[in-house]
């Protein structure tokens, strides 16, 4: 086993700690801090009830993130399928015993805290697909028969999540999985075929949507139609954004947010609140921070030596992008309201933890960028 002993395969703890991309950690902290400041404003100039809890979660999450980053990447690779299996079991469990929240079954009540299996699945799916594709050669990736297993890996959890029904998460899972397929080298024409087929199937899929999901899509098409009903969220968000103007109304001065016209200002619509108070400038600065974060992600992916590490980094970076893009596009009325939080900024423990775990894996890839992993390690 010559390459097991080659440079970078066995790293000391100190070396790893030094190798952690502290610039990235700083960037993450910076983005989270804009979240704390905005949550402080959302509570009317108070740490309670959101900012303080969010900071505690972030602190815990940072420890978890670094711990994940420092654990050998091969351990994660070995655990990938197990995590996936647990995720699927939990998704089935949530279907059977889940708690109803917001009209959908999403939570499992485990004593002191809630588990959202779909969150676990966001990471698990990327880990699993990365491991699976790690085991394929370029030629194998090009053959359809090697794609049945990964398609099943994707469609089982997606199907379960749709059944919950949580269309937003299902789309997110589908899109980030698609990105891993794409990065892995699945031929481009297959994507075109799937997109065309998917487009053709759209009218059929429409009939399977729940009423509230149909309504969301319809109000997105024409929010002014029903300004006090379901179009209210989008309309008030656009008013908040637009009235913020170029320079914003000033910190803690957002009328739309503070007078409760803006719904969910501490969670899904937190970007709107920030942009109302800090204007276009504030919005663009935050977007720039996210672009920097995503660029970091791609840089890490490109530096990685193993296919597993590349796919893992690429998948997580894409997931991050999808979160940011869908959230901002949603609050500015470009896509329907789907309930996707703004990464690291929106109030909420589960999403924060998912993201920090993902970012921990990203840093892990950076730390273990030169570790070589033989293809056969992918197999069971």
């Amino acid at each position: 086993m010559p390459h097991w002993s080659s440079r970078g395969n066995d790293l000391s703890f100190g070396r790893k700690l030094r190798d952690v991309n502290w610039g990235l950690v700083l960037l993450i902290t910076l983005i989270a801090s804009t979240g704390f400041a905005t949550l402080y404003s959302a509570a009317g100039g108070s740490l309670d009830p959101w900012a303080d809890r969010q900071m505690v979660r972030f602190a815990i999450g940072m420890v978890v993130m670094v711990a994940i980053a420092l654990t050998d990447i091969r351990v994660w690779m070995r655990l990938s399928y197990l995590v996936y299996a647990i995720g699927v079991v939990l998704l089935v469990a949530v279907e059977l015993f889940g708690r109803v929240g917001m009209g959908a079954q999403r939570w499992l009540d485990v004593g002191i805290f809630h588990i959202q299996p779909s969150e676990i699945m966001k990471i698990a799916l990327i880990l699993t697909l990365a491991r699976y594709f790690h085991g394929l050669s370029y030629d194998e990736v090009g053959r359809i028969r090697w794609l049945f297993i990964p398609l099943a890996i994707v469609l089982v959890p997606v199907g379960l999540v749709i059944k919950q029904p949580d269309l937003g998460t299902a789309m997110l899972l589908l899109a980030s999985s698609g990105a891993v397929f794409f990065f892995a080298g699945v031929r481009a024409w297959k994507f075109i075929a799937v997109i065309v087929a998917g487009g053709a199937a759209l009218p059929v899929a429409w009939n399977f949507l729940h009423d509230y999901q149909k309504k969301r899509v319809l109000t997105f098409m024409n929010p002014e139609e029903d300004p006090l009903g379901s179009g209210y969220h989008i309309l008030q968000s656009k008013i908040a954004l637009g009235s913020g103007g170029f320079a914003g109304k000033g910190y803690m001065q957002g009328t739309q947010s503070h007078l409760s016209f803006l719904p969910e200002k501490q969670t899904d619509f937190i970007f709107t609140m920030l942009a109302e108070e800090h204007g276009l400038i504030g919005a663009l600065v935050l977007i720039a921070l996210y672009i920097l974060l995503i660029a970091y992600g791609y840089a890490i992916a490109l530096r990685a030596r193993s296919q597993y590490a590349r796919l893992l980094a690429g998948g997580i970076t894409t997931m991050l992008f999808l979160y940011v893009f869908i959230n901002i596009a949603m609050v500015s009325g470009l896509v329907p309201v789907v309930g996707v939080p703004l990464p690291l900024v929106s109030y909420g423990g589960t999403a924060m933890m998912t993201l920090l775990v993902g970012l921990g894996l990203l840093i892990n890839v950076y730390v273990h960028r030169d570790v070589e992993i033989p293809r056969h390690m992918s197999g069971l």
Partner: protein
């Protein structure tokens, strides 16, 4: 090596595709930036406006309603503090317990409690709900003292209209009430819940002056409508006070003088047309309407046979009876059908066509001239005068003296009365005028009706020497106290084309009514030299006296049911040497004008003149228009 090549393929593909996807993602971020630029820069103004509309709520502040004052500044309508107690559900930990605690301090019955709880359920938790209104200061202070034990209880001082004189001015001042659907106009104030507008009297006629202009308060509200803070405030313009020509002391005197009798009186300044008193008895308490009249009160007012809701002084239309006779005499003199010296013999009745026309004095008056006929109110003389003159000439004179048309007084609901003409009868009844009807008109009966105010105007026009004075009830100068403008009628009003000499004969007759022994109201003489009054009685039939009754016995008024008795009337002006005040009095179904109306008129005229020095400047009111008629004597 093969493995490595394929690994390199995978890495190359990954690099290419990562760059591709990364670029696409950057492009999508660009789209987001463009979207934000569109919303936050290009459309910013539109959304800024929408955000302001969201957060700012305009609240109207009702202006203080102007007061209504008498000519000396006594408040006839004012605004009383209305102490209210309210409850805010969200501040009260337990609404039931708070109401219970409140009912130990003031009276809150179960139906009130039930209403409060109903309203709390209907409204948002932070909207105050009225528990009780019009609290006494003691109750108000008591609640205030206990407020620490009454969570959620708010005290509030509002304003409500108050009529301190009660029924005395009900028909002049009127009352305010809630805005009806058809009264909604441009003024947004009218849509304010609980806003009151004038419903009758000067409250209605001068509503806009009294109302004032609304102020407004800009309030920042949150998405649930809760007020956060006040941004701007404009207190608006309170309504103007309205000064009436009425003398409250005189009004009170006149009203009380009527006692239990149903009737009306009007006292005018014959030079200025100012109404000093305008009585319609009985009145009603306008405060009932303001607070919200109860079913029982409404039934009581509507069922009363004395019709307290009618302003009899301007809405009551009565046959003028003998008070019409001066006018018939004047018409005859002006037409030349009679002269002051024309003698008519009164045997107690006169035959005309197939009818017999009776004089009120069965035995007859003997030979009568104009002056003595007015003095003794001889019917036969005026049958003759009317027969010779004809209805149209009489109607023309009636019109000149202000009858048969609106006086134009600034009050609501004034009626015209009726002065018939040949053309009128043809047009309305489709019948030609019968000669015999002239005779009936001659004694102010038949189709003729007038309002008490019209009769007062008639007396004023006779008294001021034939100038077309018109009545008003709101002071022209808006001042309080003596009126500066003391010009006589001759400098204020157009002259009526009536010969001075003719007028003097009529006035002489009116002097005789009250001052000569044979005068029909000699008993109501004013003996104080400076207050001497000239007048005329009238007793107008409500019901035709049948032939059968004539043959058996004409019942005395006292024997008839109230509704069938004659109306008692009296018109007068005084003082005779320099007339200044005119008045008309009617006692509904009072029987005899001399017995019922004249004494009331006499007392009112004495009081009017007694109060006079306080009412105007000390300087005498310019050249007098009426000559000293008493010297002439007659009859």
């Amino acid at each position: 090596m093969a493995i490595n090549r394929r690994d390199n393929d995978l890495q190359r593909v990954f690099t290419r595709r990562a760059l591709l996807l990364g670029t696409a993602q950057l492009g999508l971020f660009g789209a987001l930036a463009a979207r934000l630029y569109y919303l936050q820069v290009m459309e910013s103004d539109r959304y800024a406006l929408l955000a302001e509309e969201n957060r700012i709520s305009m609240r109207l502040l009702p202006p203080r309603r102007g007061r209504v004052l008498d000519r000396f500044g006594h408040e006839l309508a004012s605004n009383r503090r209305n102490y209210r107690v309210l409850i805010v559900a969200e501040q009260s930990r337990n609404v039931d317990a708070t109401l219970e605690a409140l009912s130990r301090l003031i009276q809150v019955d179960d139906s009130q409690k039930a209403r409060v709880k109903r309203e709390i359920e209907r409204r948002r938790k932070f909207v105050p709900v009225v528990v009780a209104e019009n609290l006494s200061w003691d109750d108000f202070a008591k609640i205030n003292l206990h407020s620490p034990d009454l969570p959620g209880v708010q005290l509030d001082v509002g304003e409500t209209r108050d009529y301190p004189y009660g029924a005395m001015f009900s028909h002049v001042v009127g009352y305010v009430g809630a805005v009806a659907e058809n009264e909604l106009g441009d003024d947004p104030l009218l849509e304010l819940p609980g806003f009151r507008i004038g419903k009758s009297g000067v409250e209605k006629v001068y509503d806009e002056r009294l109302r004032g202009r609304a102020g407004h308060s800009q309030i920042e509200v949150n998405a649930y409508g809760r007020a956060i803070r006040e941004l701007r405030r404009n207190n608006g313009q309170p309504g103007d006070d309205l000064v009436l020509t009425i003398d409250a002391d005189l009004q009170r005197f006149a009203m009380e003088r009527f006692g239990e009798e149903s009737g009306a009186a009007a006292v005018l300044d014959i030079h200025t047309g100012e109404i000093l008193a305008l009585v319609s008895n009985p009145g009603y308490d306008p405060n009932w309407f303001n607070v919200g009249i109860t079913q029982a009160q409404w039934r009581q007012l509507n069922g009363d046979k004395y019709k307290p809701l009618i302003n009899k002084a301007i809405q009551g239309q009565y046959p003028p009876g003998s008070t019409f006779k001066m006018l018939v005499g004047l018409a005859a003199l002006e037409a030349g059908t009679m002269t002051p010296d024309t003698r008519v013999f009164c045997p107690g009745h006169v035959e005309f066509g197939n009818n017999t026309f009776h004089c009120w004095k069965r035995g007859g008056h003997g030979t009568m001239s104009l002056v003595s006929a007015i003095e003794e109110s001889c019917d036969v003389y005026f049958y003759e005068a009317a027969r010779r003159t004809g209805v149209d000439k009489i109607a023309e004179m009636a019109k000149r003296l202000g009858l048969g048309e609106l006086t134009g007084v600034d009050l609501t609901g004034e009626r015209k009365g009726l002065i018939p003409t040949r053309a009128w009868k043809q047009a309305v009844l489709g019948q030609p005028w019968a000669q015999g009807e002239n005779l009936v008109i001659g004694i102010g009966q038949g189709y003729v009706t007038t309002t008490p105010l019209q009769l007062a105007v008639m007396a004023a026009r006779l008294g001021n020497g034939g100038y077309a004075v018109t009545p008003r009830i709101v002071r022209a100068d808006d001042g309080i106290g003596p009126v500066a403008d003391q010009r006589p009628a001759s400098q204020r009003w157009p002259k009526l084309d009536i010969k001075r000499e003719h007028l003097d004969y009529v006035i002489d007759g009116m002097y005789g009514v009250t001052n000569r022994p044979r005068g029909s109201a000699a008993g109501s003489r004013i003996s104080l030299a400076q207050f001497v009054m000239a007048g005329k009685t009238g007793s107008s039939q409500v019901r035709r006296i049948s032939r059968l009754e004539r043959e058996t016995r004409v019942r005395k008024n006292e024997e008839k049911p109230w509704e069938e008795r004659d109306h008692a009337l009296f018109v007068a002006f005084a003082p005779i040497q320099a007339p200044r005040y005119a008045c008309a009095v009617i006692v509904e179904h009072g029987g005899s004008g001399a017995k019922m109306a004249a004494p009331i008129a006499r007392d009112i005229m004495i009081e009017t003149q007694k109060l006079d020095p306080s009412r105007r400047a000390r300087t005498p009111p310019g050249p007098t228009t009426a000559s000293a008629a008493p010297a002439k004597g007659g009859g």
